[in-house]
Amino acid sequence: MLHDVSIPYPGLSGCPDYETLDTRTLLARALADPALGRCALVSSFGAESVVLLHLISRIKPDLPILFIDTELLFAETLRYQKSLARLLGLSNVQIIRAHPRDLSQTDPHNRLHISDPDSCCNLRKVQPLQRALQSFDTWISGRKRYQGGLRASLPLFEKDGEKHLKINPLANWSAQDIHDYIEQNNLPRHPLLEKGYHSIGCKPCTRPASGRTGRWSGQNKTECGIHLRNGRVVSRPAAAVLVRDGGFVVKDQQSETAALDLPGDTALQDLPADLHNHSMIRITFSNFADGRGFTLARDLRRRGYRGCLRACGPLLADQYSMIRRVGFDEVEIPAEHARRQPERLWQARANWQAYDYQSRLQGWTRGRQHHI
């Protein structure tokens, strides 16, 4: 049960200025304060996690500790988590995972992290954590101001959505503070630190590098999203992209009101009688390997359809010349798809009329040189 709080949290009762408290006292008071309701620590058991885990273990070793297993973690992290929990006597580590159904639906081949790391973090970290946090009122994280980026002005206490309070007890710790604490208390460090890792997340998205620059290196991403407040990672469906010979074009919703939509596997006998009345027919490919849409397009042209034929779906740039040759005028691809198959890949296939064996055979005349 949580009293109404505002940012920053003004009152640990009887202690207005807790920025001056030492971290251990702060934590001890917070964990004993009924106003904060049910508390949990969220720990990644990563590069610096041992500090906060050690602090907690000296105050309340049976505090629920939420450990998110994305199922893409380093083996070293999994082993470290087990051995550290045992060493520190942390008796209430709860392992949080995505629901297998969600995984098989959204990321069945474990490659979402390549095409859309935000969605992968959302699937494997953000959503599972949100579900788990429903049982708690306050959660504790190990973020620090010195880590920079979005964390540079981190408060000790902050409101997290409508229902939660978040404590960042190490907010004003420096890197040196962390180092000294570990040395003085002789704490075991994460084994990958020896190998040049400084920040440790999931295996596919972590490279050895200093600070957090090894995370999602080469991408624009610096946070997995579990700390982003309005900030739940929301995938906003971006506008689909049109591809023509000249390149990418933005869709104009107006021009498509009279379009007829046909799935690629539409049987010939199921074609509507009035198809010639539509200025546009959109043929949908459920996946790029289902070639029926190519035959459908050809059949429509054979029936004399003169309007705009559009191929819709996750088609590959390498299919562009086939698409054009069977009679499509353009392609519509999802925005996410366009990120992986950017404009220049499609442009590379814009010369779809070159080396067309079939037309050449049909137009063959004796004695003529058919070099092109």
Binding site: L72, F74, A75, H113, I114, K203, P204
Partner: protein
């Protein structure tokens, strides 16, 4: 229906060369089967397989291969052949000999 888990190694094909590689205990890939990490725990094996499937920039077609013994020795014919390469009847690598028995007289 689940079968009891047999201790296994994890093999795959290297993306660039196509050659058979095995997962080591430091999450690296080797073509020496003796350095393959052996999984006794089913959950761990499955977790590592899932991880390997995500390493699409390095390997393709990862599979768990049951083994026995210290070597470790793969129990299936396929995995054994992947470890040793193809062999002709005479026990020599097939590609060395167009004929296992060179002949002096023309064959009739």
């Amino acid at each position: 229906m689940s079968r009891p888990f047999v201790r296994s190694i994890l093999s795959a094909n290297d993306l660039l060369t196509g050659r058979v590689v095995y997962l080591t205990n430091t999450d690296g890939w080797t073509n020496d089967i003796r350095r393959a990490v052996v999984f006794d725990d089913k959950a761990e094996a499955i977790a590592r397989l899932a991880w390997a499937e995500a390493q699409t920039h390095q390997v393709i077609a990862p599979v768990l291969a049951p083994v026995r013994g210290a070597a470790p020795f793969p129990t299936s014919n396929r995995d054994r052949l992947r470890a040793t390469g193809p062999f002709s009847l005479a026990g020599k690598p097939a590609q060395e000999t167009p004929s296992a028995r060179p002949s002096e007289t023309p064959h009739v």
